[in-house]
């Protein structure tokens, strides 16, 4: 039995090793501590077919830097948009400690939830611990800032365009700037400069030279509130199956500005806000981001992930991260399955 299990472990790590190889088909450009992927990376995404049972039929994780190279990360079926898939099975070892049980080894399918262009797809990072192969740890995560880069929509916000005012709300040009026009006040992730923007009807709107609204950025709780139509400018944002499960997203959901929304499958109107996210980036082998100075593991997992002399734990955006107390480096990303 032991021999069998050892063999399995080696097989799993072989998969990890394949991901960690820099460049080349199927391997992305992992640098030993982090491997990026966006589903469109050059020469990969579809070359992982030999990754064993963790890869299934979706070609493994699409890895590599930004690019338009074809990958087979499109999943078949209906209008599913092939998202970058996240696969693999990893075992995390830190010294003699392994934290594999909470790391779902693979099966992190990305299910497209709409149609759109590839640039809207999630970019997923598979973290690999530096050092010996046997220390490899694998987790997936979404680089939310890729979504945020979509910035403001063009033209009139949904709803307003249907009103017979030529997209020229009265008095908007005369609106005085106040706290609502300061970018830092809103903390918008997709707009760093609100110059020329005004607050209007749940959006930040930008006026064109003709006085008409030329662009808009929908706001959480404003335009992006239950019952309102989802702005077409912000198309589907496929997320890993883990996120779908953890946040209870259902089949129709969207992301905007640090929040995930559930949509009505029929009307595509917003049903509810499902999650609020920090959007912070965590990488195994890298220091913990600032802003996690205190223990914040959810109640249900405190017995399992309690700080101790060998490990500290912090939670963010659906994951518990194990941190080496001495080096302060992240050594594992742990899914909280339910």
């Amino acid at each position: 039995m032991r021999r069998l299990l050892t063999g399995i472990a080696i097989a799993a790590l072989t998969v990890s090793t394949a991901y960690a190889k820099p460049g080349g088909g199927g391997g992305g450009h992992g640098n030993g501590s982090e491997a990026h992927g966006n589903g469109g990376g050059p020469g990969n995404g579809g070359d992982h077919g030999n990754g064993g049972d963790a890869h299934g039929n979706d070609g493994g994780m699409a890895m590599g830097g930004p690019g338009g190279g074809p990958g087979n990360d499109h999943r078949g079926g209906g209008n599913d948009r092939g998202p970058p898939t996240d696969r693999g099975q990893g075992n995390e070892r830190h010294g003699d400690r392994a934290v594999a049980p909470a790391l779902d080894p693979g099966r992190a399918d990305f299910r497209g939830n709409g149609n759109g262009n590839r640039h809207d797809e999630a970019r997923v990072v598979r973290d690999l611990a530096p050092g010996p192969v046997r220390s490899a740890a694998i987790a997936e995560r979404v680089v939310w800032t890729d979504f945020d880069r979509r910035g403001a929509g063009q033209g009139c916000p949904p709803g307003l365009a249907k009103k017979n005012n030529g997209c020229m709300p009265p008095g908007l040009a005369r609106q005085q700037n106040d706290w609502r026009a300061e970018p830092d006040w809103w903390g918008l992730r997709g707009l760093s400069d609100l110059g020329g923007y005004r607050y209007y009807d749940g959006n930040m709107v930008r006026l064109g030279s003709d006085g008409r609204i030329a662009g808009y950025y929908p706001l959480l709780g404003g335009a992006l509130a239950a019952g309102n139509p989802w702005p077409d400018y912000y198309p589907a944002t496929p997320l890993p199956a883990y996120y779908q499960s953890y946040y209870g997203l259902g089949d129709d959901y969207r992301y905007a500005d640090g929040a995930i929304y559930r949509l009505d499958p029929q009307s595509q109107a917003i049903q509810s806000i499902a999650a609020l996210l920090t959007g912070d980036r965590f990488s195994v082998g890298q220091p913990l981001p600032e802003g996690y100075g205190a223990y914040n593991v959810p109640y249900s997992y405190r017995d399992r992930y309690a700080d101790n002399p060998d490990a500290t734990y912090r939670y963010s955006d659906g994951y518990v991260y194990q941190v080496d107390p001495t080096s302060q480096l992240i050594v594992a990303a742990i899914r909280l399955l339910t």
């Binding site: 934290v99 953890y246 209870g248 499902a274």
Partner: protein, 188 residues
């Protein structure tokens, strides 16, 4: 074969076994520890609703739609300004809670929400470990909040310099905690 168990295993072979557990469709369930038991079964949204002096926050969470976030599986901590804290804003409180300003209210509330479960005891312990240095925690809004301690009083500050003190017992729920504070952590 059980899905439960401590994550720290002593060998790579056992780690591989754990992997097989997941591959076979076995999902880990949340362990029912003493902390979970103490937290009860209410959602954070429900717990805030029943808290006596957090009615403005509760109403704001509902009007902005943020309450649904706290009905789910994920865990959050709300640094919840008390009703008195909103009242102290004067006319600005009325403006903030007006129907046309729900996006602004959502932005304010968001800056008061921290990922995970962050109890007052966790904050105190972190401040002890830091030996008096401020302890920063990320919010799901714009930046971080900073905790400091002077005597027995803990102060929390927002990125814009606004600050508040803890104002009452924390409200615990199965998926988080709400800590009443005596001021709004955002300039209006």
């Amino acid at each position: 074969m059980s899905c439960r168990g401590k994550p720290a295993m002593r060998s790579l072979t056992l780690a591989a076994l754990a992997g097989l557990m997941v591959l076979s469709g076995c999902k880990a369930s949340a362990p029912a520890g003493k902390d979970a038991a103490a937290a009860g079964t209410s959602s954070l949204a429900a717990a805030i609703t029943t808290a006596g002096d957090l009615s403005t926050v509760s109403a704001g969470l509902k009007s902005t739609g943020l309450a649904s976030v706290f009905d789910g599986n994920a865990s959050y901590t709300v640094l919840a300004p008390t009703d008195a804290a909103f009242k102290a804003l004067g006319d600005k409180a009325g403006m903030l809670t007006a129907d046309g300003n729900r996006a602004a209210l959502a932005a304010v509330l968001r800056d008061h929400i921290v990922p995970g479960t962050l109890t007052p005891a966790d904050i105190k312990k972190a401040l002890e470990v830091s030996k008096g240095d401020p302890v920063k925690m990320r919010t799901v809004g714009n930046g971080e909040v900073t905790f400091t301690k002077a005597g027995n009083a803990i102060t929390v500050s927002g990125p814009d310099g606004t600050s508040a003190k803890f104002a009452g017992d924390a409200v615990t729920a199965r998926n988080g905690v709400a800590i009443p504070i005596d001021a709004v952590l955002k300039k209006l």
